[in-house]
Symmetry: C2
Subunit: 218 residues, 2 copies
């Protein structure tokens, strides 16, 4: 797949790819080498036509009567998601969330390697989190000059985030995974992926209240 093909994938499909990747990985682990869109549809609880629509773009992996070649499709999605390489990450904010992320083994398995963790709180600077020692955020800029950092995880209060963001942008960080509850302004070539947990729980409260309204009106 060349870049021109890649650009045609819509962001809606991209958001669904990690789930396909996860299911295909599970199939591989269980020694399943091919699967029909109908079978995958049942497992993933999406329609077979959605699966065909999503996956047939990636070349002719789905052949009538044969199904998908699980390993080829898995590797293709891996490549599309940029998971055929490793990323170096740092965490800004070593509170509970920062520590949770640093200790989450799934990231390392996928090629996301934490190489530094920073905080502003003198009481925790110097303490160990996993294999890392919490550093003073004052040293962030130097660290970035001396180490290639692909992704910075922002798990700090929203009031501090706008000061940290330019330091990251000006020192070669390519992506910010933003858990701070504020929108960051960055140049076009620095990606911000927001993981706003409050937004996520609000989608849940919306759906719960929607169901309750329906039940009440019945």
């Amino acid at each position: 797949m060349d870049n021109n093909d890649k650009e045609k994938i819509s962001i809606a499909v991209v958001k669904r790819l990690p789930r396909y990747y996860r299911y295909l990985g599970d199939l591989l682990e269980h020694g399943i080498t091919r699967i029909s869109s109908n079978d995958l549809s049942r497992r993933m609880n999406v329609t077979a036509s959605q699966i065909r629509q999503d996956l047939n773009k990636f070349g002719c992996f789905g052949q009538r009567g044969y199904g998908y070649n699980v390993e080829m499709l898995y590797n293709e999605i891996k490549k599309i998601l940029g998971l055929d390489r490793e990323y170096s990450l740092i965490i800004i904010g070593a509170g509970n969330l920062g520590q949770a992320l640093a200790n989450y083994s799934n990231f390392k398995k996928r090629g996301f390697n934490f190489i530094g963790i920073f905080d502003i709180n003198p009481e925790i600077i110097g303490k160990k989190v996993g294999n890392l020692i919490i550093q003073n955020v004052d040293g962030l800029e130097n660290f970035l000059k001396e180490n290639k950092v692909d992704i910075a995880v922002l798990s700090i209060p929203k009031t501090n985030a706008p000061q940290i963001s330019p330091i990251l942008v000006n020192n070669g960080v390519k992506g910010i995974w933003n858990f701070s509850h504020i929108d960051l302004k960055t140049p076009n070539n620095v990606i911000v992926e927001n993981a706003h947990l409050t937004d996520s729980v609000m989608t849940l409260s919306y759906k719960i209240s929607e169901i309750e309204n329906i039940e009440q009106s019945e």
Copy 2:
């Protein structure tokens, strides 16, 4: 707005509402009582036509030459998101992530109240997290029978999640906020909102590798 109107809101718009809610809340805090779609557009970095499309559904809050009444719009979105009431939550899994969520003050501010936290690990059962004491997950079912719980947060390894899920479903939990990296099967009236952090970071790696591919081909 009655239920019939409410059902017409697409899930794509619902996913955007928390961001509007956040910006409108900030405006209110700064004493701004009305705002044009153009001004809101500049602040939120989305097109004014997108804003009008999203918000004009909610009744005639946007009037030509007047703009939106910030407070009315804020309150309407609050109602739509189900935030005009309180929710009781429990956390299953008192690891770093569970503790981070329990301590996150933004949730309480929005009406999400944690009333219990559970774990399987005897070494942490009995310890305090915020105002809560970590309970043995063996007592989960009894707790659910004695307390009204709206939302259960699942922050446990994926292998344990399928055993916990039916206990929640059978004891009146209305929504599961699922951080465990597995898809849960629940009846239609029990909502699952997935917060799969690995999926989120994969969207980031996709976008980073996309930009790098473009840069390399230039």
